[in-house]
């Protein structure tokens, strides 16, 4: 019956029109959600997945099946995410090192109170004593320059140990942050796994998880792999942090060396294997960089003190007594820079004389030579210190250059990620117009069909509208 077929056709069109309204509304919804989240950290733009329904063939009549909205799809690139996480860890580590070294190096710049200035003042006070050995003011000058030198060693050594303990505190704090992030990630991981198992897109939950993993990679170097249960996150050396919906906390404990060690969930010490991120940077500075500087500084302080004391012993002080130790350093050598002090108390105890008479300056040359002769390390005191200055400067400039280089790399990767996943207001505005037009057109279909239906129903009534 052809008239029935015609009515069915109108209904089909009405149905398709309603579907089109729903789909356009869904698409507008996606667009508005994208615009709403255009500045949300970690948000990945979503596109509506629209597909055409299969056409139906009934009694030789073909009619379109309409349209349906299958869902919203987040546009993300997992590989880029991984690269960004790695680079973030590397940069965060370089930044931590760079900022610690920036702090450290101010103690090695010529400020007038640094070790180089103190050595200079000590050296010139000895030269002055050489010209005027019996002057009490020249003698007092040497004593106070010696005290200043010891003070400069203290200041520098203390600055290093202060920075070291700041890094130590950072280790504990960072581990706590890592644990909190791991717990949150594990939770989200479970939810994503459920969605995936149901064949759905992870969507915003995945966005949140990726953002947290990104934050985690700032704290320490992580390795992320996919498994059936979701992401598996481990530290660089394979210590698990998150496996599916299970998180594993790291612990800290004070080691025999007095600093905080990081243990995995089984209690194994993994401190030395941690690299990257704030944690890796802090451990590097605390356990490698500063100890190396301190060792050099201690060697310099202890060898110089011995050399100067040996020179003192060659002469006689102004009281005619054999020269006694000018400097005293802790016997162990470790902590020499922090512990060096001037052991004589009176300017008359400086061993100026080579023959015991008060007018002789014969031993001053020996005292001065302690400053210019090579120490057992093979370097003169000023060379040894200059080497340390070079090393500190070089380390600092390398760390900051590294951070800059990684930063550029990271900018590029972030740009790439943005070009894939970022919300473009222009694009969304265009889509808005597109979906608005489609919605208007779909609405027109519905109203047209309604009019047609009314016309058809009124065909026999003789009334006209």
């Amino acid at each position: 019956m052809p008239d029935i077929t015609a009515m069915g056709g109108l209904n089909t069109s009405l149905f398709i029109g309603v579907q089109a309204l729903e789909v356009s509304q869904g698409a507008l919804n996606a667009t508005s959600n994208n615009i709403a989240n255009s500045n949300t950290a970690g948000y990945v733009r979503e596109i509506p997945e629209i597909s055409e329904n299969p056409e139906t063939v009934s009694s030789g009549v073909v009619s379109g099946g309409g349209v349906s909205l299958n869902g919203l799809q987040s546009v993300r690139d997992e590989l880029l995410n991984l690269q960004i996480q790695q680079q973030t860890s590397a940069q965060s580590s370089a930044d931590t090192e760079s900022s610690a070294l920036e702090d450290i190096q101010t103690n090695f710049s010529s400020s007038g109170s640094d070790i180089a200035s103190a050595f200079s003042a000590f050296s010139s006070s000895l030269a002055q004593l050489s010209a005027d050995p019996s002057s009490t003011s020249a003698q007092a000058g040497v004593l106070s320059a010696g005290q200043n030198l010891a003070g400069a060693f203290h200041t520098t050594a203390n600055a290093l140990t202060t920075q070291q303990s700041a890094m130590n505190t950072q280790v504990t704090q960072t581990v706590a942050q890592i644990n909190s992030l791991s717990t949150q990630i594990a939770q989200l991981n479970g939810q994503v796994a459920q969605l995936t198992a149901a064949g759905k897109d992870g969507g915003t939950i995945e966005d949140q998880r990726d953002e947290l993993v990104q934050q985690l990679s700032q704290l320490t170097g992580v390795s992320v792999t996919q498994s059936n249960d979701g992401e598996v996150i481990t530290t660089g050396n394979g210590t698990p942090l998150v496996m599916g919906s299970q998180s594993y906390s790291l612990q800290t404990t004070t080691g025999s060396d007095g600093v905080q060690h990081v243990l995995d969930s089984n209690g194994t010490d993994i401190t030395t294997t941690l690299q990257g991120g704030q944690l890796g940077g802090a451990i590097q500075i605390r356990d490698q960089v500063i100890p190396s500087y301190l060792t050099q500084l201690n060697t310099l302080a202890s060898q110089f003190a011995s050399a100067f004391n040996a020179a003192q012993a060659k002469g006689y002080d102004s009281n005619g007594k054999a020269g006694q130790n000018f400097f005293s350093v802790p016997a162990s050598g470790a902590g020499a820079a922090a512990g060096i002090s001037v052991s004589i108390t009176d300017p008359s105890q400086i061993a100026i004389s080579s023959d015991g008479t008060s007018g002789s300056n014969g031993n001053v040359a020996n005292l001065s030579a302690a400053l210019t002769n090579a120490l057992p390390s093979g370097q003169t005191p000023s060379q040894a210190y200059a080497n340390l200055v070079f090393q500190v400067g070089n380390d600092t400039s390398n760390a900051s250059a590294q951070s800059t280089a990684i930063g550029q790399n990271l900018t590029q990767l972030t740009n790439q990620q943005g070009s894939v996943s970022g919300v473009s207001i222009d694009e969304e505005t265009t889509n808005l117009i597109r979906y608005q037009t489609a919605y208007e057109a779909a609405a027109r279909i519905v109203s047209t069909i309604q009019q047609l239906g009314t016309v058809t129903l009124d065909m026999g009534s003789g009334q006209s509208y």
Binding site: Q105, T357, G393, S400, S419
Partner: protein, 300 residues
Amino acid sequence: MRVNPNMVPDILADMQQSQSAVNIALQEVATGKKVTVPSDNPAAAADMVQNTLETANVDQYTQNVSTMLSMVQTADSSLGSVVTSLTQAISLGTEGANGTNNTSNLQAIASQVQGILQSVVAQANTSYQGTYLFGGTETSSAPYTASSSSSSGYTYNGNSDVNSVAVGDDMNVQLNLPGSQIFSNSNADVLGSLSSLVTALQSGNATAIGTATTAVSAALSNVSQQRVFYGNAESQLNSQETALQQETVSLTSQQSSLVDVDEAQAATDLSQAETANNAAEAAAAKVLPQTLLNYLVPTQ
């Protein structure tokens, strides 16, 4: 290809970079230094450690040279007076030995020589700012004091040591000769020979006067010889002073090439950095607010 719609991080990074360039340039202009912390130039910072030490030392060496020059010149002029005095004593001795003088004349000559002896002793006790110059390393007390037990009437309180003063790295200049080598040398004893001459003149023995005069001549030639040391020291110190001045110049120029900023360059850098920063800010202000929305007419 889709481009990254979010320009904010890029623009921020660019502006931070240009801002940091302005800061660096500003700091260089303000401080006049291109190396303020070691990381600015690690090698230059390391070289500056040595430069700082050398500069302080050279300053002190220069002061030492000028102090020593005064001391050496004082000693040299004392010995100059001694030479004059001894020459005078020799002519008095020669006059006393010629046999034409009566006793009262000889006594008069003897007292003249006695006066010379006292003035020579005064020169031997010369001090410079409280430091006795001819006592060896016994610089705090007068080297020669009157003594009845000594044949010359004076005894030496000093020692035979010498002081050397640092005037350069590994360069020490000897400052003094002990008085025992100049005034009471056993082979050419200034004080002893003058004292013998006085005794001989008082006794009127022409032979003894002659012998004593010869001894004074020998002492004179010894003093002249020893005086050469001070002349040498003076010229050594003068040439070291010149060397130290040159070293000061070269250390200063090393310092400026290591850490000092080229003012013209720094000013140019600063103005370039400012221009770049302004451009970055202007570009950001132009680009950031632009979206399609600016061009869509709102529908009524």
